[in-house]
């Protein structure tokens, strides 16, 4: 059953039978076996096959592929060629459909593919950081000079009372408010993770429009942050604000910036494809960008947990800054150094 099929072209025999008939008679068993395995994969997935059947599947596929090219050369039986074509394309989908298990993929992704994808996009990342920073600095300067400009950058629903008309004590209390765990969790699921992941994915997908919306999104994100910072700074609450913001903000901001970098990758491929055809460039960078976005969504999940649960229950400034520092250090080490050896070994996986 599991023997590797004979690939030789059948010899010319003395009897009157056609060579193509002879050929079919000799190979048909292989095709039927492949067909039977495929039917089971179609019904139950790869788990429907025993280990040895799984091992023989690629051999059967290649044997059938070679049958097809022989058949095209020697046979004029249209039904046979059509059968082989559809059998080959069906098994092609299975053989080249997915090489590794989902679990291997996830661990590969976390161990090296994600950090490698980020490192390969360092200039796009720098651009992304630049636009966020520019927005932040501009808004900070403007709001510091004239607090009324605050309303230009932060709309009322976003500010929810945290605006220049609020008394300092209220602003301070907002930063140290304790909430119960359940509320924190709901808050996490609804506004934080849901909204942030959507914004992040949009920042990536909008890169398809030459990156202009991505750029605006990042810049606007920076503006809001700068305006907030200026407001709290004017009341002498800077240290408290950053203590409130950074424990989750390090992860969250970085994730949004990464999504922006992913958007710039798409824009790069579209606007400056270089020597490659535009579609090839888009496909290559699109894949790299997708991995960055997946990583960023995971980061947003973590940030949401920190924000929804940790921040609402821990009010000590030292602990808050400790956590902020630790997450910053972790992401720098992880994104900067994880999987370097493996990435060098495998080469850029986006082709």
């Amino acid at each position: 059953m599991t023997a590797v099929p004979n690939l030789a072209v059948p010899p010319i025999t003395g009897d009157a039978t056609l060579r193509s008939v002879h050929f079919r008679r000799e190979r048909e068993g292989t095709w039927r076996q492949l067909e039977e395995l495929l039917t089971r994969v179609h019904d139950k997935g790869l788990s429907g096959l025993a280990a040895e059947e799984l091992a023989v599947l690629p051999h059967l596929y290649r044997a059938t592929l070679s049958s097809l090219s022989v058949a095209r050369a020697i046979s004029l039986d249209r039904a046979l060629i059509e059968y082989l074509e559809s059998l080959v394309s069906r098994s092609y989908v299975v053989v080249y459909g997915s090489r590794e298990r989902v679990r291997t993929r996830i661990s590969d992704f976390l161990r090296w593919r994600f950090p490698a994808a980020v490192r390969a996009a360092r200039w796009h990342l720098a651009l992304s950081i630049l636009f966020t920073l520019a927005g932040g600095v501009i808004a900070f300067e403007m709001v510091s000079r004239d607090s009324d400009t605050y309303y230009m950058f932060v709309d009322a629903s976003m500010a929810s009372g945290r605006d220049p008309s609020a008394p300092t004590s209220e602003l301070r209390d907002g930063l140290y408010e304790e909430q119960d765990f359940n509320h924190g969790l709901t808050y996490f699921a609804s506004s934080l993770f849901n909204n942030n992941s959507r914004v992040g994915i949009m920042a990536f997908a909008l890169g398809f429009l030459a990156g202009v919306p991505t750029l605006i999104l990042l810049f606007y994100n920076g503006l809001m942050l700068g305006a907030f910072a200026a407001l709290y700074d004017s009341r002498g609450l800077s240290v408290d604000l950053w203590g409130w913001l950074l424990p989750h903000g390090v992860t969250e901001l970085l994730a949004i910036i990464l999504c922006g970098a992913a958007g710039f990758l798409l824009a790069h491929a579209l606007v400056f494809p270089g020597a490659e055809p535009r579609l090839d460039a888009l496909r290559r960078r699109g894949r790299q960008a997708a991995e960055i976005v997946l990583g960023a969504v995971i980061m947003l999940f973590i940030a949401g947990l920190i924000e929804g649960i940790f921040r609402q229950t821990v009010t000590s400034l030292t602990v808050r800054y400790g956590v902020a520092g630790a997450t910053a250090l972790w992401w720098i080490v992880y994104l900067g150094w994880f999987g370097r050896a493996r990435a060098r070994l495998e080469g850029a996986p986006w082709r």
Partner: protein, 302 residues
Amino acid sequence: MAVARYLDRQGDGVRRREIVTPEGIPIQFTLASIGERMTALVIDIAIVMGAVLATVFMAAIASPGKDEWISALALLLVTLSRHFYFAFFELRGHGATPGKRAAGIRVIDARGGSLEASAVLARNLVRELEMWMPLTFLFASSVVWPDAPVWMWVVAGGWLIVVALLPLFNKDNLRVGDLIGGTLVVVQPKVQLRADLAAPTAAKALATATRSTYTFTEAQLEVYGVYELQVLEGLLRGEAAADPGAVSTVADKIRTKLQYTERVPLGQDEKFLADFYTALRAHLEKRMLFGKRRADKHDRAR
């Protein structure tokens, strides 16, 4: 590595695409139609919605009174399924989500390589922009943005139309996600091996005798080419069997053309055609071995 070519060989309006496998052998896929893709999409969206609703409903029954937990769970589920349902199932199911399976279509790599996880991710993350955002705006804008101005609907509707129609405006029916992921959506081919007409066993099924009763001269076998052979194959397989008299009509025509002198008894036309098919195929296949492929009866070049 592999370069894909376009084919519209049969001229029947069905779009085909040739993929060169990593082994270097070209194989053909039929591109999925817009209708098939819409069917798949509707089924998938129904599954996502149904699964989320069912989970929330069961959670609500299991723990009454804890509304916050339930809404948290629901939102988390919606977020995860909206971003990852398609990618997850396309990775697990060899390029087919449950909806695509039902519609009989699949995602493949457009250049013939294996379907990479990153390609699947890329093509599905873009759905956020292509599908979910405009859909949310059209059907649930009061939740997302309470007093959304009218122009927002116009923008969302316009965007949805532009993106939804994009597959109509390129020859591969690609959507934005396919462009970014470098993928194609094709019809899952059907497989059925039918009997070989030239094999003795098959001939037995078609006619009473196993051996050829009718013989043909070399000159008579030179009249037709591959195209005619395969039309004859279709006739013998009963593909165009609308007209019961077709067999004798064709047999008469062939006999006239060949100037066939041997008498064929009444009711033996099918046997005559089967014998002619076998003889012609043997002849043409032999020529093919010497590199002389004769396309049809007008092909006199070699």
